[in-house]
Amino acid sequence: MSPTVADLLAGAILVALTFYVLLAGADFGGGVWDLFARGPRRERQRAVIAHAIGPVWEANHVWLILVVVLLFTCFPRAFSQIVIALHIPLTLILVGIVLRGSAFIFRSYGGEDSGGQRRWGRVFAISSLVTPLLLGTAVGTIAAGRVQRPTGEGFMADFVTPWLTPFAASVGGLTVALFAFLAAVYLTNETGEPELREDFRRQALASGVLVFLLAMATLVLAWQGAPLVWNGLVVAPGALPLHLLVGAAATLALWALWHRWWRLARVAAAAQVTCILWGWALSQYPWILPPSLTIAQSAAPLITLKLTLGALALGSLVLFPSLFYLFRVFKSTEHS
């Protein structure tokens, strides 16, 4: 069976989401480490984080906008169900995004008033932690098949209980841990100072272990709380190779960190996160909102899909060279 145009666009959304997680996810993770910065070098750690995020975070953030726009253009029914059922967490995510972005920029351009800067730094760091937690919760709710049309059984049943579950919360926690892990691994590549590098290495190793523990917890909770996910991750035929792939990437990342092979660790960590994301997506294919809405059922008319695909192709011609340039200017400096 060859993929349809709708499948291609769903794939494009997944690619955009992957970029968002790999790039903006690490920016969130940077904020988490800003929050947990400890010890005598904490201000220097924060400076490295701010320096790493500064030039790129806005471009990274646009991936999310692309995901949302593609979703409502190409899969309007899925979008409408998601925004109704997840109204509360999504609204809180927005508050988090607004506070985090503004606080970061206010801190950067706040001038000499260090008290004000510290407060903005706090806001930036806390919202960096809370936003991915909610983002993961929303994704967990979708994966568990709990995004449904309102049944009219009352406010709690329609707008709160679908996402207030242990499983969704554990996905939220896992998301934070993954973002923090990515950030710490990237940060080892962002500084030339051995002491700071060691700090970030320790953080990367710790959060890598945390990712493993939370992934196990999520799996256990899925058994009771999200049979669909359990089925996709344990029973389905593609499950074993997927787990092997994620496991291999995770082991490689930790191993490379252990041996201080910074660049290999970066690649492996990114691969690990990508595998997790794609594993989730493939396990629920062809559902876009399991168990009620498939990609085909929620797709917009063909003409819209084709034109959007064209716009994506055209846009990519501008986007990727620009992105390449951005990262070459700011991320290619060797710190060895």
């Binding site: 253009t73 620009s322 200017v329």
Partner: protein, 437 residues
Amino acid sequence: MAMSLGFHILFAVVGIGMPLLMVIAEARWRRSGDPLDLELAKRWSRGTAILFAVGAVSGTVLSFELGLLWPGFMEAAGPIIGMPFSLEGFAFFTEAIFLGIYLYGWDRISPRAHLLAGVIVAVSGAASGVFVVIANAWMNTPTGFTLVDGAFTSIDPLAAMANSAAFQQVLHMTLASYAATGFAVAGIHAFLLRRDPLNAFHRRALTIGLMVGAPAALLQPLSGDISARNVAEHQPAKLAAMEALFETRAGAPLLIGGLPDMDTGETRWGIAIPAGLSLLIRHDPNAVVTGLDSFPRADWPHVPTVHVAFQIMVGLGSLMALVALWALFKLFRGHDLAADRRFLALTALSAPMGFIAIEAGWTVTEVGRQPWIIYNVMRTSDAVTPMPGLVYTLAGFTALYCFLGVVVAWLLYSQIIRSPREREWHRIYSPQTARLP
């Protein structure tokens, strides 16, 4: 939603206008080598950074909020007007990428590449504005689909982008962005020049601000004329509400000011210019103009709001055009702008005018379309989310935005507008900086 949009529109507008100022300042510096131009370019790039960041996050809120508040609208309209939003996404990407390069790349890339990055920021900022306005224009003059039993069929997204209000709205809004930003900058520095008339920093800022604001303000009445005639043709109910024209008639008068009463169909305290409206809209004093009586009462927008907002927009726009004319006249005669205290006072007064006019104009186009969210196709009440307790969400975002607004205003003052301190003057004109690339 209205609140978020009203907030976002201010940042979006400055996000379109500010990069142009910044690029002009940098281009002048590259040519003249005057560190004052460099200082302005750096300050305005900081301003762009702050406003772009807040604009970007408030824009994200909007892209979600479209769905959070109006899922019915997005489910129906998404496939039709998603196209401009997708393109906007890429324009926005380009702006974000090159703004990052511009802000952090002063000493990392060649001068030419840096200036070019600034130009790309300015162009892509304007482009993303264009795409968003196209989507809004579609709500006013929806095309590109056939309505069968309340469902959209035969969708044509390209035709939807080429809707009949698109061109005039884009023109009007882009000019408004440049005029409002240019005048805001010129006005603020004019105000400071009144206290300190010889301050070179404020003088230079005033000049560049007017370079951007004045031409746009002069062109705006022309674009307004195009807009009004387009509205008369495609959205007659909105035009009737703008002009408070309750009855369809030939030789319709032009009402200036006044407060319309929807129950009696009369407008008090207005000045009527006989046949003025017919003349403006149809270029014929005897032409018939459609009034509100041609529409069922349930399809009327709130006439006083629309009429008063329209008067505010036109009034302020005209004032800005007059200031622009005066400035050109003085420049033409070789006068020193900063030496004329009355000119400075008027320019200072015009600083907030562009933004008030934009908010008023936006009120006209949005409230004037009510009760429709898609003109003559879908009612706003049919599109709203079933989620209860929306008022809390609205109150929360309102509070958040007010707070952010205050912080941004304070930052802009302390970082950008304020005259450089003595130490900074020293830095601007010290021999070391002159050698920078």
